[in-house]
Structure formats: structure tokens, C-alpha cells
Amino acid sequence: VVEETDVSEREQILGRVREALRQPSRKPHVHGVPRVPTAGGDRTIADVLPVAATDFASRVEQFLRNAEELKSDFRVVGSAVELTHNLRLLAEAEGWQKIAAHRGASVEWVVPRLGLPVMWTDPGFDARELEACGVGISECDALVAQTGSVVVTSRSAGGRALSVLPPHHVVLAREEQLVGSLPDALALLREKYAGDFPSMISFITGPSRTGDIERILVLGAHGPRKLTVILHP
């Protein structure tokens, strides 16, 4: 019976939508804006967004500038040894007791070298146990220089909770994953998953934050207080 009422409700709403749209509305024109850019041709999203860096070095620089403003910790390392060293220092400084991690080539290589108990989240896990971990380590699908964002999905980079439940999220990114702009990142996702998207895709920009009390910035509202992004070869 529930199914039937749903079907009819659906038909009714779609019917009202179609009926309403029989009367056309005028194309919008925002006051004072030329209809086409002066350069000619159609205006594209990339034309209006903030400038995105084009080559690798300037992408790194742009990501770094954004990370500073967002209070993310962005590090560029030259080798696997340096990557391990950086993580060891973080583990000591923050006193990690247990690490939550999601499988992936770099994670699987580096995490066992830290000499700490590891909870692998891939086969499923208990939320309380994950919450007790001092850090969640995952890879990512892309980094976006234009905005300082990290792209993760429920399939490739830690599921849904790993990047928000522990107090610190560490992201390991390969150099070729750093893209210039948001349109580039979405195009990359489309190419990678065409027709078979994961159930969750998240663009994470900085650690969790709130300004709900007197518009004063506080980090770690619900999600992690710290976000560390390590770019490695």
C-alpha cells in the first residue's frame, strides 16, 4: 500500500511541475553583467572562479597558502623515508596510542613502520573503537590547489567515519593527485568512477570548524581538530 501511495504522490508532484512549467519564464540577466565575456565565447565556470595554478610548483604553493589560512598542516616530503619520519614525529608529539587506517599502497607501506597498534577499517569496525584512536590515516582521490581541499570517498579513502571521528586526520597524497581547480577535481572523479560512484564523496577543506558562538572561529567542532596533508612522490 505504501508503494502505491508513493507512486501516485510522485505522479502528482511531477504533474504539477510540468503544468507549472508550461508557461515559460525569461532567461535571467543579472544587472550590469555583459551577457558574454568580453573575450568572446561562452563564459565557463573556470573563467569566473579564483585563478587556479597550472604547473606543479605553483599548485604546491597555492595549496600551501590555502592550508595556512585554513589552519591545515601541509607538508611536502621528498621520499618514503621522510614520510615515515614525519609520521613518527607526529606520533610522538601527540602521543598516539592506536592508529586507525584504511588500506592503500602508501598507507600499507608506512603505517606498520610506526610500531603502533593499528585498527584497519576496511572490513567494518566498531565506532567506539574508532573514536578511541588518536589518529585516522588515509589516502585520498585528489588535492585541490585552488581551494586547499582534500577529496576522499567512501570506497577509496577510509569509508565515511575515518576522516571525521578521530581527533586528527592524516592524508597521504601522491604528487600526481594534486590538481589545479574544482572543475578539474570533479572531472577526475567522473573519469575514475563513471557510472559507478561510491556512496559518499567528500571535499574536505581544513579541520572541522565552527563560528556559531559570537562568530569566533573554533576548530574541532565535531570532526577532527587537526588535518595534516602529506604530499609524497
Binding site: 504522490e9 510522485r10 502528482q12 508532484i13 511531477l14 511541475v17 503544468e19 512549467l21 508557461q23 515559460p24 519564464s25 535571467p28 540577466h29 543579472v30 544587472h31 553583467v33 563564459r43 565556470i45 573563467d47 569566473v48 572562479l49 577499517t121 567494518g124 569496525f125 567506539r128 581541499s149 567512501s154 569509508g159 565515511r160 567515519a161 576522516s163 571525521v164 571521528l165 574544482l182 572543475p183 570533479l186 572531472a187 572523479l189 567522473r190 560512484f197 561510491p198 556512496s199 559518499m200 564523496i201 567528500s202 571535499f203 574536505i204 577543506t205 579541520p207 572541522s208 570548524r209 563560528g211 556559531d212 558562538i213 559570537e214 562568530r215 573554533v218 567542532a221 565535531h222 570532526g223
Partner: protein
């Protein structure tokens, strides 16, 4: 509120900080005006192809095992979601910010069904503890000081070590973490829906919606049918524009796409995902070709922030779910014109809202059109009666001076009946103060001078 100077000062300060940040981020865009035009065009295409877009959205969602529900009215939406909670014997629900849930009064319905509802967005959590509606569609607790927040935490949670925003946030984090792990059901709103790929997009800063979508076994999203955009790439435009216009950020902390429940091979996520598509008057607004662009709204709140009316009367004075200029435009369509037409008069028609709108909605002209439509439609009987009496009084100088004098003499007695059913001005005084009658009229004053 407009008489409360301290309150006004607080709102102005908060919005002053916002303006600085917003201008800074707008300047980062290569072409902010062009971005607004492009956003208006993309939304125009989305809204004018709504039926096809909705069908594509639903196809995509259902292909991943999402259950889609349709609700024509607020009552149906409540019934569907309360039904989901009841069937799963849910005892507690954790919610991330959703204006649609405010619109259909979902919390009350769930609580009546014996389900505990916890708001997880910090601002929403605070106003929920104070048993108030949100003050602003983006900053729900912007009217409160840290002292007031400490007070309500002390009273309701018994835990408020200081009035330091960081410590207060930590208290909320601790309390809400427990709720997350216990909750049977997670409810979110939505900022966009992508027709082409069949996904729901949620924008937030705190990570509370991410947790709402990760931990409970069942997830529900309630969204208005107008939220659909055509292509995935459109989000590359809307995400930074929403953040810039809404909060003066280049992009919000978490912009997340949800397409279904946990899929095979995924580590976690809800077993069931339900999407409820809400009409509740939106098709009526869609049918008005002149004001259809009001459905382009991305609920950034920019028009509230710049509105001289909002900045003086505050968000609670409107008595509506959606306040400020956009609320005054759409509420008469979503609810009832004659009952809500007064909102369109609470405007200076300065056009600041239209200029601020990132998707180019012609807000101040729509306020004028609402006034025109209200005047053309049949007014209520008591309104007609009132004007039939008023016209001869206003037209005669003798009658006018008699009536104003009467008003002055009888005013002291008004206090006796004020707030009771006997008050002849009750329709007015129920929600606002009556301005005092001047001690002398202009004519009297003039006569004394000459």
C-alpha cells in the same frame, strides 16, 4: 527587538565581521559578476527543466539502493519520516541542520511519537536547548552572547566551565559524540542535488552532517524539490559561491555528496538511505513565471545579512521559517498570500538584497509584485470593513482631528485591556507594540507658532 539597542549592536557587529570576509573572498574570483550571471543561468536551466531533472535524480539514487519518497505537503513529509522512525523502533534521532525540517516542524512530530531529537549543528543545538527557532538560516545562534550560551549549557547540561567559546564548543562536542553513537536514525537536509549522477550534496563546516551520515544505521535526507542542479560540474561554481556569499569563506569545510546507503566493499555507512522530496507549495511558486527565479535560492543568507530591515528587527520578528528578503518573497507563496503579505511591506525597496544575491534573484521587485498581487486579490472581510471606515475619516479634517483627539484621551485606558481579548487593537498588539499617540498634532503645534 528594534527597540533593543544592545541586541541591534550585537547583530551589526556580527554582520560587520561577515562583510569584511565576504568582500575579501569575492575579490579572489576572476569575475564575481560573471559568476553570478553564470549561476543564475545554471539555476534557470535546472528549475525550468525540473521534471526531467527530478526523474534523473531519482533514477540515480534508486540505482544505488536509495529509497525515494515524495511529499506534497508538510504533513506528508512528517508522516513519512515518523513512519521510518517508528518502523525501525528508533528511540533517538541525531539531526544535522535542515531548514526543510524547520519548515515542516519535524522535531515536534518526532518528539510526539516518543523519539528523542538532537540537533548536532552547534548553533542549532544551542537554540534547541533554549527552545527557540533559529534566528538566521545560516547562523542560527547569532543573536546570543557567550554568557547566554554558558547560562543555557549550565541549566540544561549542567556543564559549562566558562564562557570561553572553545570550551563551550568542547562541551557540546562531548555531549553530542555520545548521542551520535547511540542514535538509531540520522536526518540531514541538503544544499544541492545532482540530477545527472543521482546524488545529494550537503555543505557544512563542523563535520556534524558527515557523522550523521556515517554512524546511525538509517539515514534520511529531507529536501525541497527545487534543490536539483543539472550537472556534477555545476557544483564547482555553486560550492564556492555559497561559501563566499553565505559566510565569507572561499569554500565550506565539508562539501559532501551522498548517493546511497553503504555499498558492497565499503567499510561503513548506513544500511538504509531514504530521500524525501518535498513540494509543500514549491510548485505553486514554480507556476508563477514572474517569480519563478525565487526557486533559484541556495539559502546562503546573503540577502538577510545586507537587509536594513533584518538588521534592525532581527530574525525572530518575521515569525516564519525563512526570514529576511527571500523569506518575505517566498512565504506568501508557500503559505498564504493574505496572511503573509505584510512581510512584503517590511522593505525599504533599496535593492541591497538583489545586489547581494549570488544567483541573481530579483528580490526587491518580487516584494513589489507581492504587494501588487495582494492588493489585486480579494482582501479579508475585516480589512475591507476597516478601510471602509477609515476612508471617510481620513478624508474629512474635522472627523480626523476628532478621532486623533479621541485616541489621545482613550490611550491611557488601553493599558487596562492590553493583552486581553477585549483589546480592540489585538490583531496588531499581539505581535508588536503600538506606537504612542503624539501629545499634540502638527496642526495644534503650528497654530501655537503663528
Amino acid at each position: 527587538v528594534s527597540g533593543d539597542l544592545e541586541h541591534r549592536r550585537r547583530i551589526q557587529t556580527a554582520l560587520g565581521k561577515y562583510e569584511v570576509k565576504r568582500d575579501e573572498k569575492e575579490r579572489l574570483f576572476q569575475d564575481w559578476a560573471g559568476a553570478r550571471q553564470l549561476a543564475a543561468e545554471r539555476k534557470w536551466e535546472a528549475v525550468n527543466g525540473l521534471a526531467d531533472h527530478l526523474e534523473a535524480l531519482v533514477r540515480g539514487l534508486e540505482a544505488r539502493g536509495t529509497r525515494v519518497h515524495w511529499a506534497s505537503t508538510a504533513a506528508q513529509a512528517r508522516e513519512i519520516i515518523v513512519g521510518i522512525a517508528r518502523d525501525r523502533k528508533a528511540r533517538s534521532v541525531v539531526k544535522s541542520k535542515a531548514m526543510t525540517a524547520e519548515e515542516v516542524h519535524l522535531n515536534e512530530a518526532l518528539e510526539q511519537a516518543g523519539v528523542e531529537v538532537v540537533e548536532s549543528d552547534l548553533g542549532e543545538f544551542i537554540v534547541q536547548l533554549r527552545e527557540e527557532p533559529p534566528y538566521h538560516i545560516v547562523f542560527p545562534a547569532m543573536h546570543l552572547t557567550r554568557g547566554e550560551i554558558q547560562e543555557v549549557f549550565q541549566k540544561k547540561l549542567g556543564d559549562a566551565p566558562s564562557d570561553n567559546p572553545e570550551e563551550l564548543t568542547l562541551v557540546a562536542r562531548r555531549v553530542l559524540r555520545r548521542k551520535y553513537v547511540e542514535a538509531d536514525l540520522g536526518i540531514t537536509g541538503a544544499n544541492f542535488a545532482v540530477a545527472e549522477t543521482g546524488m545529494i550534496a550537503v555543505t557544512e563546516n563542523e563535520g556534524n552532517a558527515r557523522l550523521t551520515a556515517a554512524l546511525p544505521r538509517t539515514m534520511v535526507t529531507l529536501l525541497g524539490i527545487e534543490k536539483v542542479v543539472g550537472r556534477l560540474e555545476d557544483l564547482a561554481l555553486f560550492w564556492p559561491m555559497l561559501a563566499t556569499a553565505g559566510a565569507g569563506q572561499l569554500i565550506t569545510g565539508y562539501n559532501t555528496l551522498y548517493g546511497g546507503p553503504r555499498q558492497p566493499g565499503e567499510a561503513d555507512g548506513p544500511e538504509e538511505y531514504h530521500v524525501v522530496l518535498l513540494d509543500n507549495g514549491r510548485t505553486a511558486l514554480l507556476a508563477d513565471a514572474e517569480q519563478r527565479d525565487a526557486l533559484h535560492c541556495i539559502r546562503c543568507g546573503a540577502c538577510l545579512n545586507v537587509c536594513p530591515i533584518f538588521r534592525n528587527v532581527g530574525g525572530h520578528s518575521y515569525g516564519t521559517t525563512y526570514c529576511g528578503p527571500i523569506g518575505s518573497v517566498i512565504t506568501p507563496h508557500l503559505r498564504e498570500l493574505q496572511e503573509w503579505k505584510h512581510l512584503s511591506y517590511a522593505s525599504s525597496l533599496c535593492g541591497a538584497c538583489t545586489e547581494a544575491c549570488p544567483v541573481g534573484i530579483d528580490l526587491h521587485h518580487h516584494l513589489l509584485q507581492n504587494r501588487r498581487n495582494a492588493a489585486a486579490a480579494k482582501p479579508r472581510w475585516w480589512e475591507r470593513l476597516a478601510f471602509r471606515w477609515f476612508a471617510p475619516v481620513a478624508a474629512s479634517s474635522r472627523l480626523w482631528s476628532l478621532v486623533t483627539r479621541l485616541g489621545r484621551w482613550t490611550r491611557p485606558f488601553h493599558r487596562v485591556v492590553l493583552g486581553t481579548r477585549l483589546d480592540p487593537a489585538r490583531a496588531w498588539t499581539r505581535t508588536r507594540g503600538l506606537p504612542p499617540v503624539a501629545r499634540q498634532t502638527f496642526k495644534e503645534w503650528w497654530r501655537k507658532r503663528t
